[in-house]
Symmetry: C2
Subunit: 268 residues, 2 copies
């Protein structure tokens, strides 16, 4: 439903008891739609939410309006239950919004500066990978810097292993292999990451920050922004840790941008 | 504000970016009010929320209606910001509701059966202790049992150390000492627990489940339900782990119930 308000006893608000997806839509056509619906489906299973009628969501992209839009779809367990205990039978509640979107071409082609966050993500295999509404760790991490020249913050888990950035996934090239952090204990499995995993040989690894410092190139990516090469990495105090030369091998970006309809070269 | 609806772009809904308190109110008089306001204050600091006018909250209990009520007060970071990044300056949004409440005298005086949850709480010192809105772990834990004869589920963290129950804190008696789990890495510091900590000598410990099995008595407690002695503890499969005799020493309950205006004996 497109409705600007929600009852305050909604369990999404009360406990973060729900899921969301943010989908890039171009002229009414959603990008990576099947991947978004698959992740939503997995989230519904993992949280034991009442099953939505997924076909009802198929009609939303066409209603987003012209040009580049971000469709945000939110599912919650609705109202009711006794405290944390879900109501039986539950009723799913869903809402959506669309907002015009402008990507950042300079980040695609000049790369970005990122920093490490001090916050460590908690280990929670039951919630890892899915895009649930309880994202307060990400909010705290994003509060760690105000400097607009820093595009993103990298997050490790409480064991010190690399996970993701606050809103993006992370891939690096090391010894000729494309590696990305396992997302089985924390983090969100991005839909663009899943699409790339189906297109190229990605190695899922459990590694700490030192591994990233050995990488020959590194990228941040999500289904809305596309792929940003990392140009510089700072520590949590803002001191430079590593610089990468621009554009070592952007096959990853070319594959991703073809999927998203984004340009492959600065002039496109 | 007493308003039944909230804008769907509220950050409480989007990310769990907010706090709540559930306060026992008897005939318009709040119980443990200073402890609730102190925890809220700490939460505001920890999340760097815009500071509310705390004096405005003082008028709420009187508006809850007669008899025993639970006042639920919710604070969120309002709308806006760019994704996880909070808006600057932010504007706090708050809502409240009151619901009639009936406690469970049989749980006070006959004790309760509880089970261990399989879910392990993530370690997150930045969020530990405060009552934030991102409580999806508690919802998942509460889904682990449907049997109404089980009153609560005990939670350990990802290191295997005891933390709390899904909605209550935990105190046990061991070798003549009252012990309770440290809440510096996960869990919520209950207001009744804080009040007891000011009244008796509580030892804050980092211990696993085996320690609880050595205890001579154990209790669950919160500011709404009061104190429930644990009569039986089952494992996560429902097999009995331990039974305790009824009413070893209920000084803890007497002190707590005096604070809450609850009876000290079955006949009261």
């Amino acid at each position: 439903m497109r409705d600007a308000k929600l009852p305050i006893d909604d369990r999404g608000l009360a406990y973060g008891d729900g899921l969301f997806e943010t989908v890039l839509v171009r002229d009414g056509q959603p990008l990576l739609w099947d991947y978004h619906m698959a992740r939503l489906d997995e989230g519904v299973e993992r949280l034991s939410l009442p099953r939505p009628d997924f076909t009802a969501f198929d009609a939303l992209p066409a209603q987003c309006g012209p040009g580049l839009q971000v469709l945000k779809l939110m599912l919650t367990r609705g109202s009711g239950g006794r405290g944390y205990r879900p109501p039986e039978p539950g009723e799913l509640r869903w809402r959506w919004t669309a907002s015009p979107f402008q990507p950042s071409p300079e980040r695609w082609f000049e790369g970005v500066a990122v920093r490490c966050c001090e916050l460590r993500l908690g280990i929670q295999p039951r919630l890892a990978g899915i895009k649930h509404l309880a994202r307060l760790e990400n909010v705290l991490a994003r509060q760690e810097w105000q400097d607009d020249s820093i595009a993103e913050g990298l997050l490790c888990d409480s064991h010190g292993d690399l996970v993701e950035a606050t809103t993006m996934n992370l891939i690096w090239l090391r010894r000729g292999r494309l590696e990305t952090p396992l997302l089985d204990r924390s983090g969100v499995r991005g839909t663009l990451l899943s699409a790339l995993d189906d297109a190229v040989e990605l190695h899922w690894v459990r590694e700490d920050l030192d591994t990233l410092l050995e990488a020959d190139a590194a990228w941040l990516l999500n289904s809305v922004q596309g792929v940003w090469p990392i140009r510089r990495l700072d520590d949590a105090c803002g001191n430079p840790l590593k610089q990468w030369p621009p554009a070592v091998d952007c096959a990853i970006q070319r594959i991703a941008h073809r999927r998203l309809g984004y340009p492959l070269n600065p002039g496109d």
